[in-house]
């Protein structure tokens, strides 16, 4: 189980780092989402991996699992969910206002040439 969980976290983090470094907003958002999944699983594993154990004190318990990381993960999930919603809206507004989904700041100059090359139609919000 340790190997499975560790490699899942590793693959998700690696993929997310690659995606976050891309130059388009959609890939960055997917990367950030993947990163938050990886972090959630990671935090969960920090309370040690146990199966079928009770998180609260009960009589006749054989052992306990740590409840604190679960509470931390819950908070982290709520925050990252809200943040993902925000950044999606932000990326969408940026795309509608500038007509480009590039993440670099000089996108306005870049997209003029690229949209001509690729023959893209600009969104209506631009005009």
């Amino acid at each position: 189980m340790e190997l499975l969980v560790a490699s899942a976290i590793g693959f998700m983090t690696a993929a997310s780092v690659y995606l976050v470094l891309r130059g388009h907003t959609f890939a960055v958002i997917i990367g950030l989402t993947l990163l938050s999944y990886a972090v959630n699983v990671f935090l969960f594993a920090m309370g040690r991996l146990t199966i079928d154990q009770s998180p609260i004190i009960v009589p006749h318990a054989v052992g306990y699992t740590d409840p604190l990381p679960q509470a931390l993960v819950l908070t982290a999930i709520v925050i990252s969910f809200g943040m993902t919603a925000l950044i999606v809206v932000l990326a969408l507004r940026g795309f509608l206002e500038t007509g480009s989904d590039r993440t670099d700041l000089d996108a306005t100059q870049v997209q003029d040439s690229s949209s001509i090359e690729e023959g893209q139609a600009r969104p209506h919000a631009q005009s």
């Binding site: 976050v20 206002e97 700041l105």
Partner: protein, 507 residues
């Protein structure tokens, strides 16, 4: 227990909720409530400061759960100083904004109050996970404030700002997870007790966690090479938002001082001074990079943003010493640079507004009305920011130079601080002379812009406070010196949070 300690966090939260639920469509009433709440916050912060400078740190246990199991807030001299500074800055920003800047977008006051909640919470919290939560509250509000008013450039810069902070949040969680996995606690006082006693097998993981945490705080504090989000963000956002953000970089510096002075400080056994070998050189490069950027700036707000990076570099050099003299100098410089930087951003906003089309670009443009007052305020803010005599920036730099004299780094620090002061003087002189002297004659038929009294008064208030900070340097330095001693003393902190028995065990 003293319930006033939680008021700086509760008050803005309630006010923000009240504003959005009942006064969403009444801007005038929003302004009245927001200003009143900020005044109240200032009064509470001043009261807490008066309480904190009398003695020992005080812990506030939420729900009266005993530490380290419950959540604690801790008020000590350091956090009280930061709270007071936040409240003063907030008051100035809200005075600036009620003229008409808050009409440029919606919900300014609501976001503003939520931002105060996050900042105050981050200064008060006594455990790492709540530091994360308050960082997030602060950042979520700052995303809204940063984008306030909209515009393509702001949206583009805003996406970067949000993305970098989301990555930072993920790193923060990983760091918290690593530290929890080794020590089994996130309470700062409890961590300060347990970190020195960690078994050798856990030390590598703990150190990784500590350095990841440092990385997160370094992003917030705009330490090179993690500074590049700052110029884009601060120079594209609105002037009042940028002025309020001055305190956000200081939150990063505060967190570095708190966590790496207390938990991973001099007494942390094998992990002692985990951040010190990186912090000082990085701060030197930050100062250099900031001043070089300042000379090459194309707009006044960009210039102000690079001045912020340079001032963070100066500040973190002093923090990086992690000794009493260094932290005293850092705190003195921190308050001053926050006031001066905020004044500079607000001035950039005022100047851009008056210049109309050419905005705050550093190019010759028609002369602006009310030039004498604006230019003299710009001169004062520039002198303060560069650190020339007679204002407090100079005293702060002298204190830093003196504090560093005992360290082996002193030749490099002296060379960089003195050299960059020259560079910054050059940058500000170029900007000022382009803005105010290289002006073209006014265009015929150009309407003079009516001078905005309240915003000008807000900037004047900031400059007055910066001057007062200079005049009171002697007594203030003594107060801050006691603050620095307390901030670096883990025993008093542990006593306040966990009781004297635990502190005896950690001695």
């Amino acid at each position: 227990m003293n319930h006033w300690i939680i008021v700086p966090a509760i008050l803005p939260a309630l006010v923000a909720a009240f504003l959005i639920l009942t006064l969403r469509h009444h801007l005038v009433r929003q302004r009245i409530v927001s200003v009143t709440a900020t005044l109240l916050l200032l009064a509470v912060a001043a009261g807490l400061f008066a309480m904190a400078i009398q003695g020992e740190p005080v812990a506030y246990r939420l729900g009266d759960w005993p530490a380290p199991y419950g959540i604690v807030l801790v008020l000590d001299r350091l956090s009280a100083t930061m709270l007071l500074l936040t409240a003063v800055l907030a008051l100035v920003v809200v005075i600036f904004v009620i003229d008409r800047w808050d009409t440029r977008g919606r919900y300014f006051h609501i976001l503003f109050q939520f931002q105060l909640l996050g900042i105050n919470g981050a200064f008060l919290t006594g455990d790492l996970f709540n530091l994360f939560v308050f960082f997030e509250v602060m950042l979520i509000a700052s995303y809204g404030l940063m984008l306030h008013g909209g515009g393509a450039a702001r949206l583009k810069a805003g996406f970067q700002y949000v993305a970098i902070n989301l990555v930072a949040s993920a790193l923060f969680l990983i760091a918290v997870g690593l530290i929890y996995a080794v020590t089994g606690t996130l309470n700062l006082a409890d961590l300060a007790l347990k970190v020195p006693e960690v078994a050798p097998s856990g030390q590598a993981i703990l150190k990784t966690g500590a350095l990841l945490l440092f990385l997160v705080f370094a992003i917030k504090a705009a330490l090179v090479p993690l500074h590049w989000w700052l110029p884009a963000t601060y120079s594209t956002t609105s002037a009042p938002a940028a002025a309020l953000f001055m305190i956000m970089t200081k939150v990063g510096a505060y967190a570095i001082l708190r966590v790496f002075g207390l938990v991973f400080g001099a007494d942390a056994g094998p992990l002692a001074m985990a951040a010190a070998p990186i912090l000082l050189p990085a701060a030197l490069v930050t100062l250099l990079a900031g001043s070089i950027g300042l000379v090459g700036s194309r707009t006044l707000s960009e210039l102000a943003a690079y001045a912020v990076i340079a001032s963070m570099g100066t500040l973190l050099i002093a923090v990086g010493l992690f000794d009493q003299a260094g932290v005293t100098a850092a705190l003195y410089y921190l308050v001053h640079s926050t006031l001066a930087g905020a004044a500079l951003f607000l001035l950039a906003g005022l100047i851009a507004e008056r210049r109309g089309q050419s905005s705050d670009q550093l190019v010759p443009a028609p002369a602006i009305t009310g030039e004498t007052l604006l230019s003299s305020m710009f001169f004062a803010a520039a002198v303060a920011m560069v650190g020339l005599p007679p204002l407090a920036g100079f005293l702060g730099k002298v204190m830093i130079l003196q504090a560093v004299a005992a360290s082996s780094w002193w030749p490099a620090v002296w060379a960089v601080i003195l050299g960059t002061s020259l560079l910054m003087t050059l940058g500000f002189a170029r900007a000022g002379s382009t803005l105010f002297w290289a002006s073209e004659p006014a265009r015929i038929g150009q309407k003079p812009v009516s001078p905005a009294r309240l915003p000008t008064a807000a900037v004047a208030l900031l400059l007055f406070l910066a001057a007062a900070w200079t005049v009171g340097a002697g007594p203030l330095a003594r107060i801050l010196s006691a603050t620095a001693t307390q901030a670096l003393d883990r025993i008093v902190y542990i006593t306040a949070v966990l009781g004297p028995d635990a502190a005896m065990a950690g001695r």
